[in-house]
């Protein structure tokens, strides 16, 4: 997978993950182009498009579009499954996820994605394992916070 974008129906980007390094300008150009192309597509159209030398796979969940770019001989249906898996994970983690969850906890959304995919390749297919990894990392953070709070604020 080359990159993954999440954007709202209004065309606002909610998350972007690039697995190949591109200059910022190009990223912006690609994002803008894809958002407009996908938003103009009608709901009943299929989820795939040919774009430059890549294939774009996208799917809409509620008000959010999930959009992935894959290479010519990658499997489109598998990519849809990955998107779906990611949505399931978000849903499990946040408890029936909505767009606001992702807006306000965007870093968590990134962390979950990073446990699912690494370098654009699927990393863990078990939902349980992913959630466990995220939970234990969150725990690590929580353990740090109370004891560090006063210290951090120079009051300890």
């Amino acid at each position: 997978m080359q990159f993954m974008l999440l954007f709202s129906r209004q065309g606002k980007l909610r998350l972007q993950k690039w697995y190949n390094a591109h200059p910022d300008k190009l990223k912006k150009k690609i994002t803008r182009e894809l958002i407009t192309t996908i938003l103009t597509r009608k709901p009943k159209m299929c989820s795939f498009l040919e774009w430059r030398d890549l294939k774009i796979v996208y799917k809409r969940y509620a008000s959010l579009y999930f959009c992935c770019a894959i290479e010519q001989n990658d499997n489109e249906l598998l990519t849809l499954e990955i998107i779906h898996r990611y949505v399931e994970l978000l849903d499990k983690y946040f408890g029936s996820v909505c767009e606001l969850d992702i807006i306000f906890n965007f870093e968590k959304a990134y962390f979950i994605l990073d446990e699912l995919l690494l370098g654009g390749e699927i990393q863990e297919t078990s939902k349980k394992t992913v959630l466990k990894a995220i939970a234990s990392q969150d725990l690590l953070q929580e353990e740090e916070t109370p004891q560090g709070f006063f210290e951090d604020h120079g009051l300890g």
Binding site: Q16, W18, A21, L118, G119, A133, H153
Partner: protein, 900 residues
């Protein structure tokens, strides 16, 4: 001092955190930019503080702003600071910011090497995981080289969480630092048997990706993967394995035979569509790669096509799309199996979804035959009428032309029909960019099918007469180009060349490249008419014609386009010379007639003596179609070096003046002349003209709201007195279809159903037969033939070509790679990888030889010395062992052992 610190910290407690920022942005929708500028200032302030927690908060906010499209590269150093914290929370923030904002060319990355190494070796698996995840986004060649050993060590970590990430990370390392592949490969292979399914699946992923780019080197792993495929049930992994086999089979057909059975079993049994689709794709790849000697090969194709039919019939648009996509792959090798499902594909042409219709169109070219071509094209024409969206229409138009013209117009039984279709397409006025396609077809058909010429020319003459130049769409203008050319070139076929000449003279303000063609062909038509009049000794008409033509050409002289000016002026000169000549002859003749009344007028006019004949000689000679590759086949004359400079460019003087300077100069000059020419010289008269032109344009513009409906009547089209009304004209091609059907049903009706062609039935049959002859003699330079191998000019996109490197010349290849910017395309990378690997194979052999005969180092070894860095050298002994083991396993030549 301490008080100040406390004070600063208390102030900071009121700082915005990330949630505040997000909320703030949402509450300030009107002046978001202003709000964010303010926030940026705050963040910069926060980053100046010593406290890492504050910095972490700032970086978290920056990461959010980065997503919104703001540049945060300036904060790179601060990101690294936060990454280096020993608190997991801050590390998490820091590494996330890094993975989002760092670029692999960044010089900052140098600072991270040791920090990341520390994290990789951390006791906490999540520290290492964080570092790996983040690194995968911005790994550079330097980082890959420096950290490859550390990551490799992680492959043997006791924690599956780390192993899994490390395995995937190795792929990124290979891409940036191919030298790492060889020492790492045995370990990677081990991971295929890892007890943890996640690690195993990651290893399959990496090897699959490597093998897809360069399958040759992974054939030896086929047995391992074959075992995995038949024993595992994890669909995610199966898909990857099956994809891998799809890449391997073209190299080893025997593998393909072995695969068919398990794959067909999977196709039968699986309920997962993604797996089914992958299986079908691989079966198709297998069947394409193995020769037709397979016994149950037809059955497999049949199975695939059947399953695909189910996909296409599914209500899910995605499956429909993919089904059609896979069908088009089968179509290339097994057209007959796909043709059986013609009904389904034609049905998909009616689908609501444009992308599905486009896929169905792709398949269509394989569906046509002589019998159904007209019918299919008629359907497509209906689509043309209905379709909204220029892109789809363009695609349709291109496909119509493609399916009709394929294989030298193999399926066309009636060229009159095809020409009518082309004309109709041209008449569908829309903003298409495909006008040139139609134009090219019109010319191609008329040149190559001699029998159709008179019909074509008549059609073109009609087009020229009916279409005024105010047509605003380029499609018609492109067609006018070919209409003008055809009428001029085959003027002798015209029934009324005068009418066409007059029609062509009427056109004003054509695009320059079309105007040029008009001027040239006006001369040809003039010559043709002149001949006619001269034979009839109709000198009044000659004078009239001369005057009109002269006027038009003088108009063209005023064109701003230099090419148009030049053509107009030379044509004008020719015209004048010819006219003087004719008039001189007329003088002589009238004298003769005055002297001797007995001479009959027409008796002495001989074709050869006419002035027109001399003019016509200018355009003598037959035109033959030129083969598409002809230009490439022209041999380069001896002694001509295309790469050498004719005149050495002078670099010395211009060194300091950059390109932009030139641009500015050029622009200044153009601007200058424009201003001088256009602005001050607008006289009252011209203004009136411009105003009129604008009104005229507005009137003809369908998108412009007209003040009153009456003006419609002023549009010239309505005034035309046509024998056949325009509306009927646009459906003319249907008649051929009816005619065709009629001919099949009853021969008796033929005569009555015929339109236009006023010839007897026998003549008609003859005509049809004649029109079937497509001239296939293509002009080529002497000595060249069409089937000549292309040599170095072949298709550069063919992946097999790219991989076909002469490995005896490693230096050359290396240089090429060094020239190319840091590998971005995987192709280059894989080339390099392969190259390196084989080079190392050789170098190992050379090393072995060297052990026996010291001092006899081959060239390869020297090269190897250069390319390998010091680290590698120290490991040489180890790598030799590894490579030996690897070579043993390679056994590319004897895979049949594994597949009896």
């Amino acid at each position: 001092m301490a008080l100040k610190k406390v004070k600063g910290n208390i102030e900071r407690m009121f700082d915005k955190n990330l949630t505040d920022l997000v909320r703030g942005i949402r509450n300030n929708k009107e002046n978001e930019a202003k709000y964010i500028t303010q926030c940026m200032e705050d963040i910069k302030q926060e980053l100046r503080q010593d406290n890492l927690t504050v910095k972490g908060n700032a970086i978290a906010k920056l990461t959010y702003l980065q997503m919104l499209g703001y540049d945060i590269s300036w904060a790179g150093f601060n990101v690294i600071e936060v990454m280096s914290s020993n608190k997991f929370t801050l590390k998490r923030t820091g590494y996330l910011a890094a993975s989002q904002s760092f670029h692999c060319d960044s010089e900052l990355l140098m600072l991270t090497t040791n920090m990341i190494r520390k994290e990789l070796n951390s006791q906490n698996q999540y520290d290492a995981g964080l570092a790996l995840t983040s690194l995968s986004c911005y790994i550079s060649t330097d980082l890959a080289r420096d950290l490859s050993q550390d990551i490799l060590t992680l492959l043997s970590s006791t924690k599956p969480y780390i192993r899994k990430k490390a395995v995937l990370m190795m792929y990124k390392v290979f891409l940036k630092y191919p030298e790492a592949l060889r020492p790492a490969f045995p370990k990677l292979k081990e991971k295929l048997e890892d007890p943890d399914p996640g690690v195993q699946s990651a290893a399959v992923n990496v090897i699959c990706e490597l093998a897809r780019k360069n399958p040759k080197n992974y054939l030896s792993l086929a047995p391992v993967f074959f075992k995995l495929m038949t024993t595992k049930t994890n669909n995610w992994m199966l898909i990857k394995i099956i994809k891998l086999f799809g890449a391997l089979t073209p190299l080893e057909p025997r593998l393909g035979k072995k695969l068919i059975e398990p794959l067909t079993n999977l196709i039968h049994s699986t309920s997962a569509m993604s797996l089914l689709y992958e299986c079908i794709n691989t079966v198709i790849a297998v069947l394409i790669s193995i020769s037709s000697g397979m016994p149950n090969h037809a059955a497999s194709i049949q199975l695939c096509v059947q399953k695909l039919r189910i996909l296409i019939e599914d209500s899910d648009q995605n499956l429909k799309y993919l089904g059609l996509l896979a069908m088009s792959k089968i179509l290339k090798t097994h057209p007959k199996s796909v043709q059986a499902h013609k009904d389904l594909i034609l049905q998909c042409l009616e689908d609501k979804d444009e992308s599905i219709r486009l896929r169905a169109l792709d398949l269509l070219y394989g569906m046509v035959s002589k019998k159904n071509l007209m019918e299919i094209v008629k359907k497509l024409m209906v689509h043309m009428d209905k379709a909204e969206g220029t892109i789809y229409r363009d695609e349709l138009l291109a496909k119509i032309v493609l399916i009709c013209s394929q294989n030298n117009y193999q399926f066309i039984t009636n060229f009159e029909w095809y020409l009518t279709v082309l004309v109709e397409l041209a008449q569908m006025e829309f903003g298409s960019k495909q006008g040139h396609v139609i134009a090219a077809q019109l010319i191609d058909v008329s040149i190559r099918v001699q029998a159709i010429r008179s019909f074509a020319v008549a059609e073109m003459a009609q087009l020229l007469e009916f279409y005024a130049s105010n047509s605003q769409f380029s499609i018609m203008q492109d067609v006018l180009y070919s209409a003008a050319w055809l009428c001029g070139e085959f003027a002798s076929e015209l029934k009324e060349p005068e009418a066409s000449l007059i029609a062509m003279l009427k056109y004003k303000s054509l695009p320059p490249h079309i105007e040029i063609v008009f001027i040239q062909n006006i001369l040809k038509l003039y010559a043709c008419c002149l001949m006619k009049y001269e034979l009839a000794q109709d000198y009044d008409k000659i004078c009239g014609m001369y005057e009109v033509t002269q006027r038009k050409l003088e108009n063209s002289l005023k064109s701003p386009e230099i090419e148009v000016q030049e053509r107009a002026s030379s044509t004008l000169m020719i015209l004048e010379v010819v006219h003087c000549e004719v008039m001189a002859k007329k003088g002589v003749k009238t004298e003769q007639i005055m002297e001797d009344f007995d001479l009959p007028i027409d008796a002495e006019v001989d074709k050869g003596e006419t002035v027109a004949m001399q003019l016509l000689n200018l355009f003598n000679g037959d035109l033959n179609p030129v083969a598409p590759k002809a230009q490439k086949k022209v041999p380069i004359p001896e002694g001509l070096d295309l790469d050498s400079f004719i005149e050495e460019p002078d670099f010395g003087e211009n060194e300091y003046s950059s390109d932009s300077d030139y641009e500015i100069k050029g622009n200044l000059f153009v601007k200058d002349s424009n201003e001088r020419n256009s602005k001050p010289e607008l006289t009252e008269e011209e203004k009136v003209k411009i105003r009129e032109a604008r009104k005229n344009e507005q009137m003809n513009n369908p998108h412009y709201l007209k003040s009153s409906n009456k003006k419609y009547e002023d549009i010239p089209v309505a005034e035309l007195q046509l024998d056949v009304p325009l509306k009927v004209l646009s459906k003319r091609s249907d008649k051929y279809l009816k005619f065709d059907n009629g001919a099949k049903k009853s021969r008796k009706n033929k005569r009555s159903k015929k339109h236009k062609v006023e010839s007897s039935t026998d003549d008609d049959n003859e005509l049809v037969n004649k029109t079937l002859m497509v001239n296939q003699n293509l002009e080529l330079p002497e000595g060249a033939t069409l089937s000549d191998s292309e040599g170095s000019v072949g298709n550069p996109d063919d992946p097999h070509r790219a991989l076909d490197i002469d490995l005896d010349l490693p230096g050359l290849d290396e240089k090429k790679l060094a020239d190319s910017p840091q590998p971005e395309s995987n192709k280059i990378k894989s080339k390099k990888k392969k190259h390196n690997k084989i080079k190392k194979d050789k170098s190992v052999a050379a090393a072995a030889a060297a052990a026996k005969q010291p001092g006899d180092d081959g060239e390869n070894k020297k090269k190897m010395k250069k390319s390998k860095d010091k680290k590698e050298k120290t490991k040489k002994k180890k790598s030799k062992e590894l490579s030996n083991e690897y070579e043993e396993a390679l056994g590319i030549s004897t895979p049949s052992k594994e597949f009896p």
